[in-house]
């Protein structure tokens, strides 16, 4: 857990009295009443209920900061600007240069969703799937100083490959996996990104139907294998399929976050890919991420 990751850009700021109302109208969370000094995670969905972007929203008082967790800042900013009514006072500002975010896992039971400030750096702790992430946000030079301090304290700096591995092992999406497969939030254990009482938003019908049925057609698991499993759809020996959304190699093992039928999602289960008779890939389910999957 003693590691951190720094990413520059993928930050937006909304300024104006109607910033939260605009965000509320396009996202999965009840953001209209997000108080100053609070944060919230949410998704932007398409009409099929699939994730277009995932955000951490921080109410800084005069400004609302958005962290685009999956690198989809451009499309979300455009959506916000296009969705803004002529009656609403909101400016959308892109902070792609000069601002960074630092991500660090936390183990102890923290206070979630509170925004704290020290100088020009803000931080908050949010829940993502099974983990809590501490996120610092501020000018790049200040985030770099913070990162160097952490390195001096023994924290490793995760490069992109390490970051993808960190995410996959914890059942998180990766930007490329999201872009290609666009799962539904409930499939990838992102219930905490959704308000089930806020009313209509794009994709809400799908979410409401899945929630009402209390069953998923697919659920996310973390798999380990000793040879590469390319991203994409694969048939399994004995029937069934998996969708490998992201895959990364580390020390001779391949790790992936995949979608499979909930009945097959059991920790320790071994799956065999139906590729060809000479190249069987053995996949071990290392973790499952949905609490409401079928037992």
């Amino acid at each position: 857990m003693n590691s951190h990751h720094v990413r520059t850009g993928d930050i937006s700021v909304l300024i104006g009295d109607d910033s939260l109302a605009l965000l509320h109208s396009v996202s999965t969370q009840d953001l209209e009443n997000l108080s100053e000094g609070e944060s919230q995670t949410c998704c932007i969905l398409n009409v099929n209920g699939r994730i277009e972007d995932r955000l951490v929203v921080l109410n800084l008082g005069d400004q609302i900061a958005l962290l685009h967790l999956e690198g989809h800042a451009v499309s979300t900013r455009e959506l916000l600007v296009r969705s803004k009514s002529w009656k609403q006072k909101v400016d959308v500002i892109a902070l792609d240069d000069g601002f960074s975010a630092l991500y660090k896992g936390v183990e102890q039971e923290p206070v979630l969703n509170r925004v704290e400030q020290h100088g020009s750096v803000y931080w908050t702790i949010v829940r993502t799937v099974g983990t809590m992430e501490m996120i610092y946000l501020g000018p790049s030079q200040d985030i770099e100083i913070l990162s160097n301090n952490l390195i001096e304290q023994g924290y490793n700096l995760r490069n992109l490959n390490d970051e993808n591995l960190y995410r996959i092992k914890r059942g998180h999406l990766t930007p490329s996996g999201l872009q290609q497969y666009r799962p539904i939030p409930l499939e990838v254990a992102l219930e905490s990104d959704i308000s089930f009482t806020k009313g209509c938003y794009i994709g809400q019908e799908i979410i409401a139907r899945m929630d009402a049925r209390e069953a998923l057609a697919r659920t996310s698991v973390t798999l380990e294998s000793d040879s590469e499993i390319p991203c994409g759809r694969h048939s399994l020996q004995g029937g069934g399929r998996i969708i490998v959304m992201s895959s990364v190699e580390k020390s001779g093992s391949w790790w992936s976050v995949s979608l499979i039928h909930p009945e097959m999602a059991r920790i320790g289960s071994v799956l065999h890919l139906k590729q060809d008779v000479h190249a069987s890939v053995v996949l071990k389910i290392r973790n499952t991420w949905n609490s409401n999957q079928i037992d």
Binding site: I15, V26, D62, E78, A94
Partner: protein
């Protein structure tokens, strides 16, 4: 509190908005309901029909009776009898060709908008895309 301060040079994003000369229609029932809603304010007030983000289809209609604005240069104006109806230029593409109706039913009643630009509408009739 804020990430950027007034010393910074940060321009807000903007998109180009297409403006068309819109065409609107209203049924007799809708006009009667508008007159009923506005009462004696028809001289001093206008009805504004607008589009907002939201709803399960992405856009939602909004209707408001407001005092006649001094500056209507950003609006297109329509006259239905004594009633002035305004739509903002920004909404002109989405509202072009709409027909406003009124249904006097206990459930799902009120003003209804038939929109030829809508690919998809919500069951409640208030959201469209």
């Amino acid at each position: 509190m804020g990430l950027i301060n007034s010393d910074g040079f940060s321009l807000p994003m903007a998109v180009q908005v297409e403006v068309v000369d819109a065409n609107l229609d209203a049924t007799d029932r809708a006009m009667e309901a508008m007159i009923g809603a506005m009462g004696s304010d028809v001289e001093t007030h206008v009805l504004i029909v607008s589009v907002e983000a939201g709803g399960c289809s992405g856009h939602m209609y909004d209707m408001q009776i407001i005092e006649r604005p001094d500056d209507t240069s950003a609006f297109q104006s329509f006259q239905f009898g004594d009633i002035t109806l305004l739509i903002h230029n920004k909404d002109s593409t989405l509202l072009n060709g709409i027909r406003i109706d009124y249904r006097d039913t206990l459930l799902g009643g009120g003003f209804q908008i038939e929109n030829p630009n809508a690919d998809k509408s919500c069951g409640c009739g208030q959201s469209f895309s």
